[in-house]
């Protein structure tokens, strides 16, 4: 199994928080992991303004 495997990834993340996930729970948490990843991806789509305002940089001169 690689870290691409959701169950292995869920177990590793839980372990990083000091939690032990019994095998019987891995599939369920791995399923939930997909939902969390989708939520994170949703939030990552937004521009929170670290580079804002967008107008601070002028468009590069056309050549």
């Amino acid at each position: 199994m690689s870290m691409d495997d959701p169950a292995r990834r869920a177990a590793a993340l839980a372990a990083s928080a000091g939690l032990k996930l019994p095998d019987a729970r891995l599939a369920q948490v791995a399923f939930g992991l997909a939902g969390v990843a989708a939520a994170a991806a949703t939030l990552a789509r937004h521009d929170y303004g670290a580079l804002e305002p967008a107008s601070r940089f002028v468009a590069p001169p056309s050549r």
Binding site: A39, L43, A44
Partner: protein, 462 residues
């Protein structure tokens, strides 16, 4: 005459003021109702009968001496078993905390007592307030007074059941993703989630610090206003409580809604609704319009993405609270709560930070694009009436929270007021969401609607 335990706080208080009933009469009426229907609703975890009677006698003496403190003096109320009450266990409906005796009163309980209210007991909830059904409690689930085969909703399940069945005059609940408004909707009572920071959370077992709110549940909007008045305002023991001035909420109820601007979302909040709920909520909005409110469609910025923000904040914040116990005794949690806590480990720090930044952006957008044009947003509180207790927990939970949890991210005040019953006799609520710190307008509109209808007159049959 209406039986004492079914009176509103305002009515009962008036009887006390006129010396036509005593605080002990009210406590005894509530205790008799607990005896009559308590086993069928399982609303209480702890009933403080003796302490309540002692306090009632003391209140009666004070009132007889002309020292009546106000409308809550001598009124029996109960609190979700997440609020500390000195000398009484705070169980959070969990095995882990069962038997943990609170050393002092929580801030909200302290304020209720200062206003003269009598603490009747501690109410059932979804374990650690981490669930919207109320089904997972170490003490067994509370049952819906309107039909015991259906859930109460949660997490303030006992608060909804106890108020709806006349076992107390009002209750305190907490709301992190809808835990006041959901059981209020499903049990047919009024529940208010105030603005974040309006009500102290000192002595309240946390679920998610930046989303947790405490607030009142009662059978009328006026009663909710009276309780809110008592518990609002800055508490130096809660750094996140606000010093924002607290207006006279009951006084605001006398106004009408003529000219009030109400936005009705053009999507999201009216997707996949139970047909009875949709017709009831749209009818309620029509009543407000008939009363003079100006109703127009509104587009709500970022609404579809707000639940993602809640997810990435609530999951890790909750695990942060429970991490030690989850490491040492995970088997002592219910299945549903353990699962959500485990999921908390899968949200990385970047996502948590982005969610907090998203929250700031969403708040700004609602302030600038919604509340610059509207005083309130009207929606259903829940998409469905109370589901059956044998329905799937995860699917039910996701459906129950979808109209309430966005408001927790925003921190804006929102109320659920009863606005109808399904053909099967199950209640549901209208949610009115207002500007930050403007609970007065939320209450005013809810009160105007309530007074124009007679839903509050219905009582569950036992």
């Amino acid at each position: 005459m209406t039986e004492l335990h079914w009176l509103s706080i305002a009515e009962a208080s008036s009887l006390i003021e006129r010396r036509e009933a005593s605080p002990l009469d009210l406590v005894d009426a509530s205790l008799q109702q607990i005896d009559a229907v308590g086993a069928r609703t399982n609303a209480f975890i702890t009933v403080l009968a003796d302490k309540a009677r002692v306090t009632a006698r003391s209140a009666a003496d004070e009132i007889a001496r002309g020292e009546r403190r106000g409308p809550l003096h001598g009124i029996p109320v109960a609190v979700k078993d997440l609020f500390d009450v000195a000398g009484v266990p705070t169980t959070a409906a969990s095995k882990i905390l069962a038997g943990s005796i609170a050393a002092t009163d929580s801030g909200a309980v302290e304020r209720l007592r200062a206003a003269g209210a009598i603490i009747l007991g501690k109410l059932n909830l979804h374990e650690f307030a981490y669930g919207a059904t109320g089904m997972d409690s170490h003490f067994g689930p509370a049952r819906n007074p309107w039909n015991a085969d259906h859930i109460t909703g949660g997490s303030s399940s006992g608060s909804g059941a106890a108020v709806a069945s006349g076992q107390c005059f009002a209750a305190l609940g907490t709301d992190t993703g809808g835990s006041i408004r959901i059981p209020a909707s499903l049990c047919g009572v009024v529940g208010l989630k105030p603005t974040f920071g309006r009500v102290t959370r000192r002595g309240l077992f946390p679920l998610s610090w930046s989303l947790d709110h405490a607030g009142p549940m009662a059978r009328t909007v006026r009663d909710v206003a009276l309780i809110l008045q008592a518990i609002s305002g800055r508490d130096d023991g809660d750094d996140w409580s606000s010093a924002e001035p607290v207006p006279d909420y009951a006084a605001s109820l006398s106004s009408d809604v003529n000219g009030l601007r109400i936005g009705v979302p053009d999507s999201f909040f009216f997707d996949a609704l139970d047909p009875d709920v949709e017709s009831g909520v749209r009818g309620a909005i029509g009543v407000l319009e008939d009363l003079g409110a100006v109703v127009e469609p509104v587009s709500l910025p970022h609404i579809a993405d707000i639940p993602a923000g809640v997810t990435c904040i609530m999951l890790p914040e909750a695990l942060a609270v429970h991490q030690k116990w989850m490491q040492e005794r995970p088997d002592d949690y219910s299945e549903s709560v353990r699962y959500r806590l485990e999921l908390g480990s899968t949200v990385n720090a970047l996502s948590y930070v982005q969610a907090q930044r998203f929250r700031e952006m969403a708040v700004r957008a609602w302030r600038d694009e919604v509340y610059s044009r509207f005083d309130l947003v009207a929606t259903p509180a829940t998409a469905v009436p109370a589901p059956r207790i044998d329905e799937s927990d995860l699917a039910v939970t996701m459906n129950l929270i979808r109209f309430t949890n966005p408001i927790n991210l925003l921190g804006a005040p929102a109320i659920s007021v009863p606005c109808g019953f399904t053909a099967a006799g199950l209640p549901f609520g209208l949610q009115l969401t207002g500007r930050w710190w403007d609970e007065a307008t939320v209450l005013r509109a809810a009160h105007a609607y309530e007074q124009a209808t007679d839903w509050r007159e219905r009582r569950p049959a036992f």
